[in-house]
């Protein structure tokens, strides 16, 4: 192919926008002098549909095999011209685009320098085109088993959603039974059912589903491989068993830590946390006509959950037991479906809301709680501290990732985000995705979440896995970097610097170097950033469309002025 490179250059006027500033004749006369350029033509508007057909004809008539488009280089136009190339029977990657409109015509006035620049840009584009390489499609065999870590509601829901899409599921739970933390809760916000009922139903559905294999007392010990071909070592009673899976969903959830010392209190019967209150309510404890104080604040404001739980429980205590509920807050965050209504309902039902800033003192005295606080609003008119006594004080718990999240992140090669929760890749694209393809997050392991969001999250994860692993063999464009095994010395630089963990070291006789091994990029997990190609000390890695020779050729095509 190298000896037979025939470049076709298509010049777009963009309805006169380009020729207004630069001269077509001058550029073409320069380009025609370049070797390998076989065909040059201009057009009024190259991205019109009829032009596409014309380009197709010209490509086959002149046997062109590299195309340069001089005009604009937007992603929309790029997609259009790639389609044209495919129609003409060429590989879509044999296209070089020169952004003459954006880099020359829109930003500069007409002057001799613009002429020089436009010619230089065109030469750079042609130089790059001469070195373009084909990118082929390949079939990758994948494993269609999904490993779900964590048997809480999120884990079970994800397992069910995946099973419904035809995947085999392994559900690993570190405790001896399914259920997770939801079993300890009295009521759920936004879901009109008892948690115990809901859990029973899910556990039954999971255990009766033949596609789901439940492994209790099991945790993930080690992990190898990439999307479509993970090998996970599951640890049970000290013994490791490897399982082959295609994707992994982490649903390890959140844990709460009750810390009354932060408020100057010690553990007592009437000093309780929100989780304990839920437990007491579920057990049927009577709070009839009691005086209960609740606090939100002091460093628990990072998430929505403590606010909404406090308001939910305050409303419940007020309505069910006719209790006097005082809610002390520094800030109220109730942004969500129907939560604002819950807050106004709580106010209407007679829950007392007290705002404080810093000045609050809580003391427990012979079974009585005494709260002294200063109101920042009333303080201007009626200065001094206010004193409130009550029977119970309910404190918010600290929300931290569940035990072992850090080790799990190490095994999965993921980064930890804010407050040590597992970090998501991009909140705007798909909040369930991590920096590694094939590993997804569901439920509260990324941030304390709500039950009514779990179903959506589980469905999103299952759909994403289905999109990636839709069949036993998936077809992918092999745009991942390729490694020249003769140059690879297995130094592991690329393995360590890959932000997506897409690189594995493979061994075999086909790798022609001293070590009989080389780094291999997984086409499914790679996101084509080229960091490995730049980091490689031996220059063994090349990223298609951006190979070193292509970029250096562009630089080489520039003119030097003293």
């Amino acid at each position: 192919m190298e000896n037979n490179t025939r470049i076709g250059v298509f010049f777009c006027n963009c309805n006169g926008k380009i020729t207004e500033k630069v001269d077509y004749e001058e550029i073409t006369s320069e380009i025609k002098k370049l070797p390998q350029v076989e065909y040059v033509r201009d057009s009024q508007n190259l991205c019109a549909h009829l032009e596409g057909e014309l380009i197709c004809k010209e490509i086959s008539k002149n046997q062109l095999n590299r195309i340069v488009v001089i005009g604009c280089a937007g992603s929309r136009e790029e997609g259009f011209f790639r389609e044209v190339l495919v129609k003409a029977g060429l590989n879509p990657h044999l296209l070089s685009m020169v952004n003459l409109l954006g880099e020359c015509c829109a930003v500069h006035e007409k002057n001799p320098q613009v002429k020089v620049k436009s010619i230089e840009l065109a030469r750079m584009g042609v130089a790059r085109a001469a070195l373009l390489e084909e990118v082929k499609h390949g079939d990758v065999p994948v494993n269609r088993t999904v490993l779900v870590i964590g048997g809480g509601l999120a884990g079970m829901e994800t397992a069910l959603e995946n099973a419904a899409r035809g995947f085999k599921v392994i559900l690993a739970e570190k405790e001896d039974k399914l259920g997770g933390r939801l079993a300890r809760v009295n009521s759920i916000i936004g879901v009109d059912r008892k948690p115990a009922e809901l859990l029973d139903e899910k556990v039954k559905a999971v255990t009766s589903n033949p596609a789901i294999e439940v492994r209790t007392n099991t945790r993930l010990g080690d992990l190898d491989g990439n999307i479509g071909g993970f090998t996970a070592w599951l640890v049970k009673d000290g013994t490791e068993t490897p399982v082959e899976v295609g994707a992994i969903v982490v649903a390890t959830g959140v844990q709460t830590i009750f810390c009354p010392v932060k408020y100057g209190l010690s553990i007592a019967d009437n000093v309780i946390g929100q989780m304990k209150l839920e437990r007491l309510l579920a057990d049927g404890k009577d709070f009839n006509r009691k005086n209960i104080s609740m606090i939100i604040g002091k460093g628990t404001e990072a998430f929505n959950l403590p606010f909404v739980i406090a308001v939910k429980n305050a409303l419940l205590l007020r309505q069910k037991f006719n209790a006097t509920v005082n809610l002390f807050y520094t800030n109220i965050k109730v942004g969500g479906d129907n939560w604002e209504k819950m807050y106004t309902d709580a106010r209407a039902a007679g829950v007392n809301f007290f705002k404080f800033e810093d000045n609050i003192e809580i003391a427990a005295n012979n079974g009585e709680i005494i709260i002294n606080y200063e109101d920042p609003f009333l303080g201007n008119k009626v200065p001094g501290t206010y004193k409130i006594t009550s029977d119970y004080i309910v404190l918010p718990e600290e929300l931290v990732p569940s035990e072992g999240t850090e080790e799990l992140a190490g095994v999965l090669r993921l980064e930890l985000g804010p407050a040590s929760f597992l970090s998501i890749d991009n909140a705007h694209i798909l909040p369930e995705m991590t920096s590694r393809d094939g590993i997804y997050l569901a439920g509260s392991c990324q941030m304390p979440g709500f039950v009514n969001e779990i179903e959506i999250s589980a469905k999103a994860v299952a759909e994403e896995i289905f999109r990636k692993l839709y069949d036993e063999k998936v077809s992918v464009e092999m745009t991942q970097p390729y490694v020249d095994a003769t140059k690879c010395v297995v130094c592991l630089t690329c393995y360590r610097c890959c932000p997506h963990g897409a690189i594995t070291i493979e061994h075999g006789e086909q790798y022609e170097n001293l070590y009989k091994s080389a780094a291999v990029m997984n086409p499914l997990a790679c996101r084509k950033c080229g960091i490995c190609a730049a980091e490689c000390p031996g220059k063994a890695i090349q990223l298609p469309d951006y190979t070193d020779s292509q970029i250096l050729a562009q630089l080489e095509a520039m003119e030097v002025q003293p």
């Binding site: 840009l121 750079m124 084509k528 730049a534 951006y546 070193d548």
Partner: protein, 140 residues
Amino acid sequence: MSTNQNFQPKIVVFACENSGWLAAEHAAELCLSYPEKVEMIKLPCSGKIDVLFFMKALEKADGTAVLACQKENCKFLKGNVRAEQRVSQTGKILKEIGIEEERVGIFYLAANMGHKFTEIVQGFYDKIRELGPNPGKVIK
């Protein structure tokens, strides 16, 4: 080195296609002008930048820079950090061979910062103009 008033430096800018390249397109949409002798080369991520590219660019131009995503906001997590290290590595090499290390730079911006793009390019251009012509250019 005498500073010639008419000296117009040539700059090669490597742009990450997720930020710098799009910022340049944004600048073009807004019709903001910047010096003509600034050439851009598209990279998939600023982490793709290589010392070799910088050195090659300095054979042809008076200054070279890479445009990366804002810190902690790289699409590929660590690409801009890697680019920063490449820039300092290139700076060291340049210093060793007697060329000002300011001739290579890294700038952080987002895709919707057309104005910032022209500001950066103009600022870098002015800085290189003060430095004068690059003594390491290879003139054939």
